[in-house]
């Protein structure tokens, strides 16, 4: 490389600003305006103190969960803007039309995929786990509350790096999988791929810590009588997901670190020359990538299970089979990573995550679908928004599953690989399969978190827009995929494709209305919160433990810890008219004090990433030193808990 590297600013210079296109400039300005607007509003409302002590430094799992979900929703908007920009480009791009130059289009699909997987889906699912799991098992908090806050802030730091890349420098053009040799320095010099690497690395550390935290929480902090087979289904899926995180994320850390070394130090892990081996990247990446699909999807299945049982007013059918199916899927997910490049050559095949994997997952998944159907059979079904999303999932997932089986037939696979058929297929698995589940979970637990329900009508509207928008946006991609349209096309010359791409763009517009409806729903519900607060402790006639505490719950969740003896213990208690027995409080309740350790380490992680990306070595060193001193200082702190006094309580207010 022939760049100048200044000791102070590394390779950062005025040319890092996005002056190369008005679209990029606009994106940068919106990002900056959004950030400044947020700061201005907080200042104007005089809420800095509340934000700092109520949220940023909070170690309460419920608040951390809410912050994760806020992060996920923000990144959903950002990822969706990328998506609709691509849809518009492809709708216009016949014969070189459109408004995006190729390089910019590549940045957009790379950031869309990266954001949606790492900074939308991961934080969303982690947030839901954070909020619901300790409540569901009758615990006062997670096992390691401070580490929980560190996890969140590292994830936020990674997301911050992706957002900053829009303003300072560029993002990767190498797709969300960052396959070498294209992602090596010879082909992609500059900071784009480095942004991708460090965003993924920093947040990956956070995810690993989350995995450890939740395995310990679920296995060690259950209340008396909460045996494994009494646990709610969502907690089971959270457990399996967390175990997968602990085992799978090291592979992501290793593979991205090696790519970083190749790019920054000049090693030869994945280069074409010097004895590098590109196949190693594929192996390591998919050792993580295949389980990652289940990390995202299993908890969504857990939410569907809770929702189906609650809104059918029936006990979950076949609970043990659901538990075993979940465990089988989790174990299998480690044995099949090879199929991602095995049948498909070494091209960039994101599709394959959801491709043949579907075959393997098909049997236990089939079991689950039948369990849900039997749960609904002869139930009194209430069509509240979470249930709508669940039913929508069941309809759309069948299509996705069928296309997966199609993909597994070799000639079809041959004809469709790397086409939009695969784009359609994996969106078909992950939008209904994961995202619908998260949205259902968000609407389901919202009253528990804030003490009032979300507006029903706007929830239903959001659902119908998402549902129809999804069909319009992705079914055409199956068609043009079979007609042979490759994925990642910035422009094309086949006039037969264009009508379908226009339909797909209209579908994306409907999804936009779905997202807007979610926003309006939130707005309307906050406005009408008094009316919506009725019966908020147990708004859905819930079955599991979390509905037995107040909404919002006190910081310590349960003043006297419940003692359970059956599954669905809260439902049982309502049925028999006997309240759930509790363990009398013998000592005072201790809750962990707020601490700035999490945000400081997140900030330091951001500095390390930003410093290495731009070769600002002093910044990276300062970041590392800050991590070390913060951890050491923390280990000297003894007075980390305060006594809580139930009755005078505080909760999320």
């Amino acid at each position: 490389m022939t760049e100048d590297i200044s000791p102070l600013l590394g390779r950062l210079g005025p040319d890092a600003l996005p002056l190369y296109s008005w679209v990029a400039m606009g994106g940068a300005m919106v990002t900056v305006a959004g950030g400044l607007g947020f700061l201005a509003i907080v200042t104007w409302l005089g809420k800095w103190r509340e934000l700092w002590s109520g949220w940023i430094t909070s170690v309460d799992h419920k608040r951390i969960g809410i912050m994760y979900i806020v992060l996920a929703l923000i990144m959903l908007i950002r990822g969706f803007v990328d998506a609709i920009m691509m849809r518009l480009q492809q709708a216009l791009a016949m014969d070189g039309g459109g408004y995006l130059p190729p390089e910019h289009f590549e940045q957009i699909f790379s950031s869309h995929g990266t954001i949606m997987i790492f900074f939308m889906a991961m934080p969303f699912v982690t947030g839901l786990m954070n909020f619901a799991v300790p409540l569901q098992i009758g615990a006062r908090d997670v096992a390691f509350p401070v580490m929980n806050s560190i996890s969140f802030w590292l994830t936020a730091a990674g997301a911050g790096l992706v957002l900053v890349s829009l303003v300072i420098g560029k993002f990767s053009t190498a797709g969300w999988t960052g396959y070498p040799p294209y992602s090596g320095v010879q082909f992609t010099p500059g900071v784009g791929v480095d942004y991708w690497i460090w965003a993924v690395l920093v947040s990956g550390v956070g995810s690993t810590l989350t995995g450890i935290n939740f395995v310990v929480t679920i296995l060690r902090k259950r209340t008396t009588g909460m045996t494994l087979m009494h646990m709610p289904m969502f907690t089971w899926t959270a457990l399996c997901s967390s175990i997968l995180i602990v085992f799978a994320f090291p592979a992501l850390t290793v593979v991205t670190a090696m790519l970083a070394l190749d790019r920054t130090v000049g090693t030869h892990f994945f280069t074409n020359d010097g004895g590098g081996n590109v196949m190693n990247f594929m192996n390591l990446f998919w050792i993580w990538g295949h389980p990652e699909v289940y990390i995202l999807i299993l908890p969504a299945f857990g939410i569907f299970s809770e929702v189906v049982a609650t809104f059918s007013s029936k006990r979950l059918f076949g609970y043990p089979s659901l538990v075993y199916a979940t465990m089988v899927i989790a174990v299998l997910s480690f044995t099949v990573w090879l199929h991602h490049f095995f049948t498909m050559g070494a091209g960039a095949n994101v599709n394959a995550i959801f491709g043949i994997a579907t075959m393997v997952i098909a049997v236990p998944t089939g079991v689950k679908v039948f369990d849900w159907l039997f749960t609904m059979y002869r139930g009194r079904i209430r069509f509240e928004p979470p249930m709508l999303f669940t039913l929508g999932f069941m309809c759309l997932f069948v299509v996705g599953g069928m296309s997966g089986v199609l993909l597994a037939i070799p000639p079809i696979n041959y004809a469709t690989h790397n086409t939009t058929f695969l784009v359609a297929h994996f969106h078909n698995m992950i939008i209904p399969g994961a995202l619908f589940g998260y949205v259902a979970g968000y609407m389901y637990w919202f009253p528990k978190a804030f003490g009032f329900r979300l507006d029903r009508n706007w929830g239903a509207r959001a659902f119908w827009f998402w549902f129809t928008g999804f069909i319009l946006a992705f079914m055409p991609l199956y068609v043009i995929g079979l007609m042979g349209m490759p994925r990642r096309m910035e422009s094309y010359a086949n006039p037969d494709w264009q009508p379908w791409l226009i339909i797909a763009f209209l579908g994306a517009c409907l999804i936009l209305l779905g997202i807007v409806s979610l926003g309006i729903q939130l707005w309307v519900s906050v406005r009408d919160r008094v009316r919506l607060a009725a019966e908020a402790d147990d708004p859905w006639d819930g079955r599991t433990l979390e509905w037995s505490t107040s909404s919002p719950p006190p910081a310590w969740n349960y003043t006297e810890l419940p003692i359970v003896s059956v599954r669905d213990s809260f439902h049982e208690a309502k049925l028999t008219g006997k309240p759930i027995p509790t363990a009398p409080l013998t000592a005072s309740i201790h809750v962990p004090r707020n601490t700035a350790v999490g945000p400081v380490i997140g900030f330091a992680g951001f500095c390390v990433g930003f410093g290495v990306i731009w070769f600002i070595w002093w910044l990276a060193a300062v970041g590392l030193a800050l991590v070390a001193t913060t951890l050491i200082a923390r280990s000297f702190a003894d007075d980390t808990e305060s006594e809580a006094f139930p009755g005078r309580g505080t909760g999320i207010s």
Binding site: G211, F247, G274, N277
Partner: protein, 191 residues
């Protein structure tokens, strides 16, 4: 209160075991990469040309001994004999630091002779494996220093002791990884 502390202590050690498991997978994957790349010399030097038996035996002796001293430190601290515990910890620190000095000297010698990490795929994997281990040892040294301070300032209270037991575990873990490096990376080249 005591039961609460003991309870949370078991949570912490369970969590620490999970971390070690996750870390073991991380090392396992780097080992696997090393093995796959062990013939990718790209015309550069191989282990046979580079490694020195004396250096290897000295490094190994230092690290194995330090595993013994850290165990003795833990033992002494458990019996509330702070003086001996501090001495053993200081000795562990010295042995670990000695190991690192030898490692840095060896690796920088390789770099100086043109066999740096960007010479070949083999050397990339070699350097990465060794420095990942070396970074863990450095973190361990910082941890040892911190524990000595805590023993001095706080005495052998239950939290300090429980941290010390995890430090011991961590240090043994690094020893095991080193034995892996010894047998996978060095032995085949030296014999």
């Amino acid at each position: 209160m005591t039961t609460a502390v003991r309870h949370s202590d078991s949570e912490v050690s369970f969590g620490f075991w999970l971390y070690l498991m996750s870390d073991a997978i991380l090392f396992g994957l780097i080992f696997a990469t090393f093995v796959v790349m062990s013939t990718n010399l790209a015309g550069g030097p191989g282990g046979t040309d580079l490694f020195s038996m004396t250096n290897l035996s000295m490094q190994t002796a230092l690290l194995l001994t330090s595993s013994l001293t850290v165990a003795l430190a833990h033992h002494a601290a458990m019996e509330e004999r702070i003086g001996p515990a501090l001495v053993w910890l200081a000795l562990t620190f010295a042995l670990g630091a000695g190991f690192l000095v030898l490692e840095v000297r060896e690796l920088s010698g390789f770099v100086a002779s043109g066999a740096g990490p960007n010479r070949s795929g083999y050397l990339s994997a070699f350097f990465t494996l060794l420095s990942t281990h070396g970074l863990h040892v450095s973190a361990g040294l910082i941890w040892i220093g911190t524990m000595m301070m805590q023993l001095l300032l706080k005495g052998p209270n239950s939290r300090v002791l429980s941290r010390l037991s995890r430090l011991t575990l961590f240090w043994h873990f690094l020893d095991i990884v080193w034995i892996g490096i010894f047998s996978v990376v060095y032995l085949p080249e030296l014999f």
